[in-house]
Symmetry: C2
Subunit: 199 residues, 2 copies
């Protein structure tokens, strides 16, 4: 509907996840009205990300070096590996400051509908990290949904015979939430995983 | 939370209208996983838009030439001008194929809260287009909200003494909608603007 360059930009923006035609138009006109320097900063950031960012050779997290920040850090505990689906999960866990081990990023979860099988994930790389026996615990921190659970189950069966401690993050009520708003599955899990309190 | 380039991109994307921190992160990782050629197409579109797109010297619509597509078109009726707030309104009206005149894009609406006054809009340019007497009707198609109504009222008073036909788009029930879901103001306007039907 627009002339050349404006329409091209709207089309390109509309290909981004979560950006519909209306948002694409809104962003395009925002950029059209912005200073050239602002738009330049955005294009530079885009170019830089493709030029500089790659994936950590050990854990698969995003990195600007061969090894990511966590794998480079000598203070991190090498005996525990936390397995996650995506780099953004690493960030979410780092934010808690609860975990001092290392990560392994699978690059997704087993999802037959989207034809993502075990071979499409970084599972071989995970097993080779476990080969030398220095890792004693693997925490399965895949998403608490169907695909994440399936992936965790698959991995726990695979690692069963290895004599490792294999754990899964607890499911239960979100802290700060209202019990009455919890869905049945979550509430069911909270019962299952109930703990003894007091002495 | 992320290393350099990824965080820079998330920050830049987060400055775009309607893109929150979570969407910015999602888009950044989408781009990280995309082909370099796809990202290149996006950066090219951004660069092109700033290099090639400017505003029509006559109507203020976006254009890649001195005159926009509508102002260049000799088949358009020069005696009617439709006044709109933004270029995207031109696109919305063009889509109806109802209007064969020309446009005038104000670049916004009078909004005292955001300190946008009449001098910040392309009103002087509109008046100079009316000076030679070739225009006989001005259709005020600013948004049907407080700012748009105020702008239309301001313009209609300004043009009152000029002997022009000044009209405003009809307010009423959206076609295809449900009467019971219309807000009171819209329903009130629909009553006010009711028309005689039948012979």
């Amino acid at each position: 509907m627009y002339e050349g360059a404006v329409q091209d930009l709207i089309d390109e923006l509309g290909r981004l996840p979560g950006v519909g035609p209306k948002s694409a138009q809104r962003i395009a006109f925002h950029l059209l009205a912005s200073d050239a320097a602002d738009v330049r900063r955005l294009t530079d950031a885009l170019t830089q990300v493709k030029e500089r960012v790659r994936f950590c050779e050990v854990c698969g997290n995003v990195s600007e070096d061969d090894l990511c920040r966590v794998c480079r850090d000598p203070r991190r505990d090498v005996s525990v590996i936390c397995v996650v689906e995506e780099p953004k999960d690493v960030v979410a866990i780092e934010r808690t400051r609860e975990f001092r081990g290392r990560y392994h990023v699978l690059g997704g979860a087993i999802n037959p509908i989207e034809s993502v099988g075990p071979d499409d994930l970084r599972i071989k790389e995970l097993l080779s990290r476990l080969a030398d026996g220095s890792v004693t615990e693997v925490i399965l921190a895949t998403d608490p949904n169907v695909e994440g659970e399936a992936t965790a189950t698959y991995l726990s069966r695979l690692m069963g015979p290895m004599g490792l401690r294999v754990t899964r993050l607890a499911s239960g009520l979100p802290v700060g939430g209202d019990l009455e708003y919890a869905d049945e599955v979550t509430l069911g899990r909270a019962f299952e995983g109930r703990r003894v309190v007091g002495a």
